[in-house]
């Protein structure tokens, strides 16, 4: 059956998601290469300009070019999302595998994980970011800590499932070293489940970063951030709707694309088992 499964075409969600994702990335790169505006430069004469050829997405309340700020915002969001995902996954996977593999560590590690999980992710992130203070580095730390428990849980459950398989049991009985078993049996077999979780984490990190920046505990002003721009434009929505429209659309676009990839991957990598004939 495995042959047939592989022939099963790459899920359309993955392809659409990746295409959707490349568009803001290209816009961000091209935009910053050919930028004619300074993202921080205020211009009292050109406040709240409508989108036009000179200002592709218009200007905000102090006359800054929104398009330039969006391109930088995309870069900042992706950078934070990627860092958080990498750090969170690395630590989460370690905790998950260790707590599943070394039963003695389980009680302490999982208690801590459960304890942290009792705080809703975004609230924990807001509190941590608020205490650490605004800034890219602090957001990365705050979000990573908030995501580790979920990633640890997913990894742990996947690891426990793999550990119960006969081929791993036999490897343990044969006296293979722990490191060997972890890297040759456990990691490759939990990867498909973890990858899906990683994609969702990436999407969530970008969404949460925008929330933090919107609330004012995220990226330090005046560095452009998509969430912060929505907050800036709030008061001008009736007269200048473009100020919040473009940053908001960009966040939605990126998060939607990543979630689509996640959905596609989860269907492609972990297909529901067909019934026997």
């Amino acid at each position: 059956m495995s042959k047939i499964m592989k022939k099963n075409n790459l899920n359309s969600y993955i392809i659409i998601g990746i295409i959707l994702l490349t568009i803001p990335i290209i816009v961000s790169i091209v935009g910053s290469l050919m930028s004619i505006h300074n993202p921080l430069e205020t211009d009292a004469l050109n406040k709240l300009q409508e989108p036009c050829v000179k200002y592709l997405m218009g200007t905000d309340d102090v006359g800054r070019d929104i398009f330039t700020r969006v391109t930088i915002g995309i870069r900042v969001s992706l950078l934070i999302g990627l860092s958080v995902t990498l750090i969170g996954t690395a630590l989460g996977m370690c905790i998950g595998i260790i707590s599943a593999y070394y039963k003695k560590t389980e009680k302490i590690l999982m208690r801590i994980v459960d304890g942290i999980m009792a705080f809703p992710t975004i609230i924990l992130a807001i509190v941590l970011a608020g205490i650490l203070g605004a800034g890219t580095k602090n957001i990365i730390v705050a979000l990573s800590i908030s995501y580790i428990p979920t990633l640890a849980r997913v990894t742990r459950n996947a690891t426990l499932e793999v550990l119960s398989k006969e081929y791993v049991e036999s490897a343990i009985v044969l006296g293979k070293s722990d490191i060997y078993i972890i890297f040759n049996y456990i990691v490759p077999n939990i990867l498909s489940q973890v990858i899906v979780q990683i994609t969702y984490t990436f999407a969530m990190a970008i969404l949460h970063e925008s929330i933090l920046s919107f609330l004012g505990v995220g990226i330090k002003v005046p560095t452009p951030s998509l969430g912060g721009m929505v907050n800036d434009g709030r008061n001008y929505i009736s007269i200048a709707p473009w100020v919040i429209t473009f940053p908001g659309l960009t966040i939605s676009w990126i998060v939607l694309a990543l979630n689509m990839v996640g959905d596609g991957l989860s269907e492609w990598l972990n297909p529901r088992r067909k019934n026997r004939g």
Binding site: I123, L128, G130, I131, M260
Partner: protein, 317 residues
Amino acid sequence: MIRYIFKRLLHSIPLIIAITIISFFIVHWMPGDPIRTMLGDKAPEEQVVRMREELNLDKPLYEQFQIWLKELVRMDFGESIMWKESVVQIVKSRIEPTFLLALIGIIISVLLGVPLGIVSARVHGKIMEKILSVLSLLSISLPAFWIAIIMIQIFGVKFQVFPVAGYHTIENFGILIALKDLMLPGLVLGIMHSGQIGRMTKASMLEIMKQDYLKTARASGISEHIVLNYYALKPALTSVVVVIGFSFAALLAGAVVIEQIFNIPGIGNLTITAILNRDYPVIQVVLLFIAIIFIIVNIITDIVCAFINPKVRYENE
């Protein structure tokens, strides 16, 4: 059943201990000098020292933890730095709007999400499924704060159907006015969470549709309509309850942002204000409060599940 409830309560004790420790350390193990950041660089040194003494921050960590435990036992957490009022009083006064908001949110998201999930599972493999799945994807992907601002503009400013911001307490203005204030934020909160509920409901419905016992029912001649709406739905209910319980926590978190935008004086609004002003005693208590609510919701979810599905009860007794 009573034995199950008792056991479930007993199980949550270590978790409660863990969260009391965590909510203490989150605030106390952070780098930097909180008093300095709170008062600003220009504040005179003696004011900083006095403040530090007031908040017991000059004592070693273990003594501070003892003080925290004593406070916990007495349910008295001192005064807020910002408001100079009892922290417990402040938190208490903020519960009402948040609770109501979460309630409206959960009702709307369940009313939208559960049918969405059931219908999506029914049309599995058809074009309709794709359309519905994109809808629920949108609901989990769009930033709620952005949607909230747009909704305020449309329904609050343009059509003036709902008040745009603020909250009138039940005590002073009656429940109807309070509910009217929370209608639009509740709607946004509900719509933004319906996608998650829909997705989880769909997944559990699809799982149940594969079960052998539906085959047995069909083979004995039960009509498809009854198989789907009775034989499949009741076991699915267990998972739906879990989904709702799970979403409640997410919803409560979502309320933090929504309250901020609609300027509703609830727990979420309090959290943000306390954080922005570094009101540590308040932050600590709010964190603890939210985590305890989360645990209580989990316990209730488990008990309701055990009530619906006798198997869960049996396995745990």
